[in-house]
């Protein structure tokens, strides 16, 4: 009898060294993968569309007294009697915090899935890192990498991840300030109360978060039947179901209810909540994430407003 799901890492996965090696071996591939996905999205990435510090021309506006004279565009002012100032489009870099859940439960991959959840989460995270660094944003990884601007931001984050030891199960939000965007990729399998509790800390800091739930199809559809012993990969707890199939409906209700609770809470805060199944393409989530990032009511937009 073939099992439906398996943990991609060996049981000693919780061992720090093993995890590090695993991640190190995983990252270069993921990086390439992330870049490939970015290429499909880059065309839809727009500027800030706000006036501010930048290089590109944005608009002419009448000179207001008190402004620096150096700002006056003399060529334009010479055409008529008014004095104009050349505004540039705001191109100031924004800080986007990226985080992927490193917990052992992310190592799960079922028979119907293409990759493990962790793999998908890292791909998404590094893809975002690639996207954001290409567009000149500051990216950071809470507790691992401080905000920086670099064209090859994804490589840097990957190299940091490779060299990092055991990462804490929950990210350290202490460095995050207002108006930052935070991308959290996790399975959010903890009870919704616990999840909301630690996200609430983030919300209090005024950051705007984009939650990406990576879900394995087996977790959602519960295709188990018969007498089955379930093991929690994080805690090692075991549960034996006499006839697993009769649990399916109820389990599904709870599972969806958990997701909806978190999603509703996120929506109330103006956060985005994206669900990506590991049997679907990663780029689907990436596009959704990109739309959320570039939406009108994002913090980036509000900065200049």
């Amino acid at each position: 009898m073939a099992r439906i799901g398996e943990a991609q890492a060996p049981v000693a996965a919780r061992d720090a060294l093993a995890r590090g090696r695993l991640r190190a071996s995983l990252v270069p591939d993921l990086l390439v993968e992330a870049r490939r996905i970015v290429n499909t999205v880059i065309a839809g990435w727009h500027g800030r569309r706000k006036r501010g510090i930048g290089e590109d021309f944005w608009q002419f506006r009448p000179y207001v007294e008190g402004e620096a004279i150096a700002n006056i565009d003399w060529r334009r002012s010479a055409r008529d009697d008014h004095i104009y100032v050349r505004d540039r489009e705001w191109e100031a870099a924004h800080t986007v915090w990226l985080w992927a859940d490193p917990s052992p439960s992310m190592l799960y991959k079922s028979a119907g899935a293409r990759v493990s959840k962790q793999s998908r989460a890292l791909v998404l995270t590094l893809a975002m890192a690639e996207l954001l660094s290409r567009s000149g944003e500051r990216i950071a990884w809470p507790g691992l990498v401080d905000p920086f601007i670099n064209r090859n931001g994804a490589e840097r984050i990957a190299s940091h991840l490779t060299q990092a030891g055991t990462l804490p199960a929950k990210p350290d939000f202490s460095g995050i300030r207002r108006f930052s965007d935070v991308i959290l990729v996790s399975d959010f399998l903890d009870p919704s109360g616990e999840t909301l509790e630690w996200l609430d800390g983030l919300a209090r800091r005024g950051a705007r978060a984009h939650l990406v739930e990576v879900a394995d199809p087996a977790e959602e559809t519960f295709p188990y039947a018969g007498r089955t012993e379930f093991t929690d990969p994080e805690t090692g707890d075991k549960l034996i179901a006499g006839r697993a199939e009769i649990l399916a409906d109820e389990y599904r209700n709870l599972y969806i209810a958990r997701r909806e609770a978190v999603a509703a809470w996120a929506k109330r805060l103006g956060w985005s909540y994206t669900v990506n199944h590991t049997d679907r393409l990663a780029s689907e989530a990436l596009v959704g994430l990109h739309l959320a990032l570039s939406s009108e009511d994002s913090h980036l937009g509000r900065v200049g407003a």
């Binding site: 009898m1 099992r3 439906i4 799901g5 398996e6 943990a7 439960s105 992310m106 799960y108 959840k117 399975d187 399998l189 903890d190 009870p191 394995d216 977790e219 295709p223 188990y224 039947a225 018969g226 007498r227 089955t228 012993e229 379930f230 093991t231 929690d232 990969p233 994080e234 805690t235 707890d237 549960l239 034996i240 179901a241 006499g242 006839r243 697993a244 199939e245 009769i246 649990l247 109820e250 389990y251 709870l254 599972y255 958990r258």
Partner: protein, 937 residues
């Protein structure tokens, strides 16, 4: 467990049932092994599972099923028996056990032995000595008293016998052994069939002081025995009897088997309700019926169900005698012609070598015929009368026919059945008022009684018998006016039969009617082969016949066992005893059938003797006890399989892998089919010479014999090549490449002509090769022998070595008379007109088979004659003249050197080939001008 017809062989094992609660407890807490799965959202699942009470133990019904399984195994191990036998009470201090082991006890012998074993067991418990006697064994058998172990050994050693039970002698022996001891339990295990002197047999036993009698008889007498098997005129009839207790209709099949045990006929025998005898018929041709060696009832595995047949059912030898010389041209007038035609299909015809009766009759008698038919014999020489009469006394059948010779011979008391009146009677005709007479109904006393009288037969001449009081009973057939047509009388064991007409169609048309055949066959049926063992020579009383093939107790026919003694025939009815069990006696040449049941045998049930002693009736048929061990174990196994399926179901296998499991099940079902041996590819029947044979037959080829001498062979090959080229150029024949043949082992049949250069230095062919050549020549092939020594012979007066070798070869062959090719032989005109046939040498004649002299040699351009000469001999060295090299120029010079001679040599070869291939066609072709002229051209 008296309330159930159930008993246990090992009841102690039932204590194992106590273990069931323990098993229950164990099973209850041993849940099936779960499928392990990693599942990250376990905490969500845990909330669900809280409401669902996790079954960590097996469901109660699964536990129950397993408990039932364990209980079944325990019950099975306790060897339960359903419907156990009751114990037979055996009392007293001596058990006298008398068993019938005759033929009727064979089918259920094991049950009888089981019954006897139980009695012996009971006696053993009470420490009683046992007298054990068997009624079909010899009367002087050892009967004990035995201990139980000895009795058991004896019981196991005795087998049923294919003979009837002889109760009287055995009972008497048992009674004597019992003596006056008191308290005897007499157990009679009968086969249920009454014997002749049963009452007398029981008397001595019943006089003893018996405590009780155990009387066992089979519940039903369903044995069927064959009492008769008659080879009738057109069918073989089989009669069977059964015991009267069988009131229901019964359908049986009897099979007829030949000597090798092959089934060659079937008869359906149907007992109607209440009938104790029934008969069936096997309607197969006479020839097949004669092959019947035994008849056996299907499903009757006892000796009475089998009947062996001896010579009485076989072909008779019929000797034919006639004084008239055989005339091939007027066969229909031959006195024996119609007799021979009538009897040939059904009898072996033997005829004397000499027509002289003095020699002919002893010659016939030597072959011991069943029947001698005298066609037109009148006077029988005095010297041969005596042996003839003696042969007849011993069972010979003499059939005589009227003839003018018989009339002149006068009366003969011994060799004629009736006294004849002098002179024949003419019916019808120009000078007669009477009409030709028809044949009436056959009298019922004769063998023709079953035949229908022929409607179309008339008799115009006959000889008459003197009317005597015994004439009517001697008459087998009469004419419409009451005069006898066929009369017969017994002479000792034999019969003399007289047809009052001639055997040819001159006096009556009876001989050319179908009735004649049937009448002759009916008479022959009556006869017995005198050549059969036992009556081998006249005058010698019946000898003792050694056992040849015995019928075993189970109805099989097998070689004789040591118990069978030779059968003394000729002493009245022969009893079937232990010393003369049923079967065939005699030797391979002739056998005597000794069968179990006589024609009037009946199967009557035995009657229980009336006595004051308490009788306990027992039946063999009560053996309905059934061993329950197997079914119980099977049930446990079925439950085990069910349990396995349930466990798989509980583990969710069905749902998860339904398709794979279905595929696996189908594969499991189909696996045996796949494992069946694939039918082997058809065998390669090619023989090593096939390729050569195919090549040899694709085109016509010239062939020459490989002598082994390379120079001769190369010349032969070159010569054949040269002739082949010449034939291609000049004629329509286009032979293939010539081929050399080895007469020792090559197949010669493919070549119309084989050229054989004879050389003295080459070893002569072996006898086998000579035989092959002979066969080749007989089947139409021709060999051209060439001694190539035309001038060697002419120089010396003696024959040359090659000629001597040729003579040696031909000495073993069937060589027809030879002649030099005559001037009008077909060979001279088959293609070219030739006068002689030169080769490298000229002058030697070409010898061919001498053709029949033409009736008018003057006018005929060609000799008549069919066929082609199988042999040609020359000394002219044809091959030397024909031999050409690769460029077509001749290899060897002709002697004398003359180009025309070589041309003529080639023409000779062409003529020979044409003659070979067309035969006498040319001899007909030469008539074409004449024919055309006659047609008016």
């Amino acid at each position: 467990m008296s309330w159930l017809p159930l008993s246990f062989g090992a009841p102690m094992l039932l204590w194992g049932l106590i273990a069931l609660p323990v098993i229950w407890w164990l099973l209850r807490f041993t849940p099936p092994k779960p499928q392990t799965e990693v599942f990250p959202p376990l905490r969500i699942l845990a909330r669900v599972l809280k409401s669902d009470d996790t079954p960590n133990r097996s469901p109660w019904w699964l536990t129950l099923l397993r408990l039932v399984m364990a209980a079944l195994v325990i019950f099975a191990l306790a060897e339960p028996v359903w419907n156990p036998r009751e114990r037979i009470p055996v009392g007293g201090n001596l058990l006298a056990l008398v068993m019938d082991n005759g033929w009727a006890s064979a089918p259920d012998w094991d049950e009888r032995v089981a019954t006897a074993s139980r009695l012996i067991n009971d006696a053993e418990k009470k420490e009683m000595p046992i007298i054990l006697a068997f009624t079909a064994e010899k009367a002087n058998q050892q009967i004990g008293p035995y201990s139980a172990a000895e009795a058991r050994n004896r019981l196991n050693a005795v087998r049923p016998r294919p003979v009837p039970a002889d109760r009287q002698g055995v009972f008497l022996a048992v009674a004597n052994t019992i003596g006056d001891s008191a308290g005897v339990t007499l157990a009679l295990l009968t086969d249920g069939l009454a014997a002749k002197d049963d009452a007398k047999a029981f008397a001595p036993l019943l006089e003893r002081r018996l405590a009780n009698i155990v009387w066992a008889a089979p519940g039903r007498l369903d044995m069927v025995g064959l009492t008769a098997a008659d080879n009738g005129l057109d069918r073989f009839s089989v009669t069977a009897v059964r015991a009267p207790s069988g009131a229901s209709p019964r359908f049986m099949t009897a099979g007829a088997f030949d000597e090798k045990g092959r089934r060659i006929g079937d008869a359906a025998i149907t007992f109607r309700p209440g009938d104790t005898s029934a008969s069936g018929e096997i309607v197969v041709p006479f020839e097949l019926r004669n092959d019947f060696a035994s008849i056996a009832l299907d499903g009757e595995n006892q000796a009475a169900g089998v009947r062996v047949l001896d010579g009485t059912a076989k072909r008779r030898r019929v000797g034919l005698l006639s004084q008239a010389p055989t005339d091939d041209t007027r066969q229909l007038l031959s006195p024996l012609y119609y007799i021979r035609r009538a009897l040939e299909p059904s009898a072996d015809i033997i005829e004397p070598k000499s027509p002289d009766l003095l020699e002919a009759i002893p010659q016939l008698l030597e072959q011991k015929p069943a029947v001698i038919v005298m066609g037109d014999v009148g006077t029988i020489p005095e010297a041969t009368r005596e042996p003839l009469i003696k042969w007849m006394q011993n069972g010979g059948t003499l059939i005589r026919f009227a003839s003018t010779r018989l009339l002149t011979a006068g009366n003969d008391e011994e060799l004629l059945p009736v006294k004849l009146r002098l002179g024949e009677r003419q019916l019808g005709g120009a000078l007669s008022w009477t009409e030709p007479q028809k044949v009436t109904e056959f009298p019922s006393n004769g063998p023709f009684a079953k035949l229908a009288p022929p409607q179309d037969v008339t008799v115009t001449r006959q000889i008459l018998a003197e009317p005597t009081p015994s004439l009517a009973e001697r008459t087998w057939a009469t004419l419409a006016d009451g005069t006898p047509l066929v009369t017969a009388d017994r002479r000792g064991k034999g019969i003399v039969v007289l047809f009052h007409i001639t055997p040819s169609a001159t006096w009556s048309n009876l001989p050319i009617s179908g009735s004649f055949v049937e009448m002759l066959r009916a008479i022959v049926q009556l006869s017995r082969n005198q050549g059969a063992a036992g009556t081998t020579t006249e005058g010698v009383p019946a000898a003792s016949l050694p056992p040849y093939r015995m019928i075993a107790a189970d109805g099989q026919i097998e070689p004789p066992t040591g118990d069978a003694k030779p059968l003394q025939t000729g002493k009245g009815p022969l009893a079937v005893t232990i010393e003369n069990p049923p079967g065939l006696y005699g030797t391979e040449d002739g056998v005597f059938a000794h069968n179990l049941l006589t024609a009037d045998a009946t199967l009557a049930p035995i009657s229980r003797p009336t006595t004051s002693v308490p009788v306990i009736a027992e039946s063999y048929a009560a053996d309905e006890s059934r061993d329950m061990k197997g079914p119980l174990l099977f049930g446990a196994l079925a439950l085990l399989i069910l349990d396995g399926l349930i466990v798989l179901w509980l583990a969710g296998l069905w749902r998860r892998n339904a398709r794979r499991i279905t595929a696996a099940a189908i594969a499991l079902i189909l696996l045996p089919a796949l494992l069946l041996p694939v039918s082997p590819a058809s065998a390669n029947d090619a023989k090593p010479d096939d390729q050569q044979a195919i090549e040899a037959t694709m085109v016509t080829r010239l062939a020459y014999v490989l002598t082994g001498n390379s120079s001769i062979d190369s010349v032969s090959r070159a010569g054949m090549t040269g002739l082949t080229r010449f034939l291609r150029e000049k004629t329509a024949l286009e032979p293939g490449e010539p081929t050399g043949v080895n007469v020792e082992n090559d197949d010669l049949a493919f070549y119309p002509l084989i050229y054989w250069p004879v050389d003295a230095n080459v070893p002569a062919p072996s006898q086998a090769a000579i035989a092959r050549i002979d066969e080749y020549m007989k089947n139409g092939g021709t060999i051209l022998f060439d001694t190539r020594d035309q001038y060697a012979t002419s120089l010396e007066t003696s024959t040359s070595p090659a000629t001597l070798r040729l003579r040696e070869i031909l000495g073993n062959l069937n060589v027809p008379p030879l002649e030099p090719v005559p001037s009008d032989h077909v060979l001279t005109k088959s293609f070219y007109i030739l006068n002689d046939f030169p080769g490298r040498f000229a002058g030697s004649p070409l010898w061919v088979e001498a053709s029949l002299e033409a009736s008018n040699p003057d006018n005929r351009p060609v000799r008549t004659g069919d066929g082609v000469t199988p042999i040609m001999i020359t000394a002219n060295d044809f091959a030397g003249a024909w031999a050409v090299d690769g460029s077509g120029s001749p290899l060897l010079p002709t002697v004398p050197s003359d180009p025309m001679q070589r041309e003529l040599a080639f023409r000779s070869g062409v003529n020979i080939m044409m003659y070979m291939l067309t035969g006498n066609y040319k001899s007909d072709q030469v008539h074409v001008p004449d024919l055309l002229q006659r047609l008016g051209q």
